[in-house]
């Protein structure tokens, strides 16, 4: 069972981010990194904001993350989430990628217990059509 219903908007990959989503289909979380200066960046884009290089490589993260900020959402701005209220949207950081922050969900926890600085672990949500979405949960509460 996917975390949200099937009517939830899915990513529609474009020129800049299709490599990100393609690696997600293999359940690998990789971030774009400049092949010249080595600085990672997110969201993916065509040119390095630090050295103007167009050369990219992709750096994989292991799945450990720290919660940078979050909000508990109580209002359905799209009908797909009405049955999930309240749910937690978080922004996470990764130990070795200082410039990268990713929006995700914090799942498998009572929203009132979510706090900035908590350690989280990646899990992959199969939303169908070969699309996998990276979401996070407390380290000791990974979904089966």
């Amino acid at each position: 069972m996917a975390y949200f219903p099937a009517s939830m908007p899915k990513p529609t990959p474009n020129f800049d981010d299709r490599d990100f989503w393609n690696t997600c289909t293999k359940r690998q979380l990789r971030f774009q990194t400049c092949a010249d200066c080595g600085e990672p960046r997110h969201p993916p884009g065509p040119v390095c904001p630090y050295c103007s290089s167009f050369k990219v490589r992709w750096a994989e993260v292991e799945g450990a993350a720290v919660l940078y900020t979050y909000t508990v959402i109580h209002h359905a701005s799209h009908e797909a989430v009405a049955g999930n209220l309240p749910y937690v949207v978080g922004v996470v950081t990764f130990p070795d990628l200082p410039n990268v922050r990713m929006v995700t969900n914090v799942t498998n926890i009572n929203p009132s217990l979510v706090h900035i600085g908590m350690h989280l672990r990646l899990w992959w949500d199969d939303v169908g059509d070969g699309t996998w979405i990276p979401r996070f949960s407390p380290v000791d509460k990974l979904p089966a």
Partner: protein, 391 residues
């Protein structure tokens, strides 16, 4: 002051303000045109006096068609500020001022017409958001949810700011709206106790921490000093105007939240604030009233800090001490009720209230107000601001 040309605001105009979907008897374009004509009438002008139009946020009411509709004989300036939602409101006024100062045009009308029932509600999921791939699959759909992330981070770094302080921003706006018969929330007073009874939308934001979703039109006439002197209205000078952004904000709050760490819990205004005061030759203590873009209460708290009215992290205490209250506080803010309680016309109604303060025409008039700070949408890219003053 150098001898460069200076831009003045000679006219302001607006239509009625209604809740989203409240104006369905005529087109959004007509609403925008009515606001333009109202602003021109206020300035003692007609469309024949206009030679420029400026707007922002991809306003669908195109300047070329506005020229046709109003029969403007010659346009010399048409500008549109990219992106940013309401972040471009003061930016459009800044571009109008730039056109006047550089001599490209002599009278530029800045306008915004917004009928959400004829387009879409801003507080809902919308297709086509840049970087939507990195927010929509997680249920991050609306600005309230996105900016709640920044507000939460700011409150974490500055734990002396409490939810009660968010509520004080909302209650202050409501009190001002209840003196303004044009406000959508006129006749609907609210106490802090009432505020705490309302539901969360996206923590820490409750319903009344979020701006209204409105229909209405607003326009402002920016012109040369000599034309402003011919107008029947009080001389209101644009002392400084600016727009722009720090790095990383274009894909920031409404995208993937990758603005710099040092700036994350901010309104993206630190750079512009410094330059604005320097350009105007004034400091925060000189400002008599501020009209701060209040899409969400927490962003107003952060703006009070970034525009130098209090220390970083000190906004909660500043507000709790009564400093923003009309008319006893030292910096009454959002005196028409702002976008939390007057109307949400993408910041243009907030700017008009600043002009009313300088003219002595506000329903919450600050005694002898001579200088006003006005901001555009906060925490987005671009953001923008003005300092205006009574000559």
């Amino acid at each position: 002051m150098s001898n460069r040309r200076v831009a003045y605001i000679a006219g302001v105009g607006q239509t009625e303000f209604k809740r989203h979907g409240g104006i369905m008897d005529r087109s959004q374009f007509q609403v925008a045109a009515e606001a333009v004509l109202a602003a021109l009438a206020d300035a003692g002008m007609t469309p024949a006096d206009v030679d420029g139009f400026a707007s922002f946020s991809n306003d669908a009411n195109e300047a070329a068609l506005m020229q046709v509709a109003l029969g403007v004989p010659q346009l010399r300036w048409m500008s549109m500020v990219w992106g940013g939602g309401g972040g471009g409101s003061c930016a459009a006024i800044a571009q109008a001022a730039a056109a006047i100062q550089a001599g490209y045009a002599h009278t530029v009308v800045v306008y915004r017409g917004l009928c959400q029932g004829q387009s879409r509600r801003f507080g809902r999921f919308g297709e086509g958001r840049t970087h939507g791939n990195f927010v929509h699959p997680y249920g991050l759909f609306a600005p309230a949810q996105m900016l709640a992330l920044q507000i939460r981070r700011h409150m974490y770094l500055h734990p002396q700011i409490h939810e009660e302080h968010l509520g004080m921003i909302a209650v202050n706006s409501r009190a001002n709206a209840n003196r303004n018969p044009h406000a959508i929330m006129y006749g609907k007073p609210m106490t802090l106790e009432d505020y705490f009874k309302t539901r969360y939308i996206a923590e820490p934001l409750r319903l009344f921490d979020c701006c209204l979703e409105s229909d209405g039109g607003c326009a402002i006439v920016v012109t040369t000093e000599s034309r402003a002197r011919d107008a029947p209205t009080t001389l209101v000078r644009i002392l400084a105007a600016g727009h722009g952004s720090g790095p990383g904000w274009g894909s920031g709050p409404l995208g993937s939240q990758n603005m710099p760490d040092a700036d994350y819990g901010s309104t993206n205004s630190r750079l512009i604030a410094r330059e604005l005061y320097a350009s105007a030759g004034v400091s925060p203590e000189d400002i008599d009233t501020a009209q701060i873009y209040d899409h969400f209460s927490g962003m107003v708290l952060m703006a009070l800090e970034e525009y130098g009215f209090c220390d970083l992290g000190g906004s909660g205490e500043f507000v709790a001490q009564g400093n923003i209250a009309w008319k006893t506080g030292k910096l009454p803010i959002n005196t028409s009720g702002g976008q939390l309680s007057e109307a949400y016309v993408h910041g243009m109604n907030v700017a008009i209230e600043g002009v009313r303060q300088m003219r002595g025409q506000s329903t919450s008039q600050v005694d002898d107000a001579r200088l006003c700070l006005i901001t555009g949408g906060l925490g987005v890219s671009p953001t923008s601001a003005l300092i205006i003053g009574r000559d």
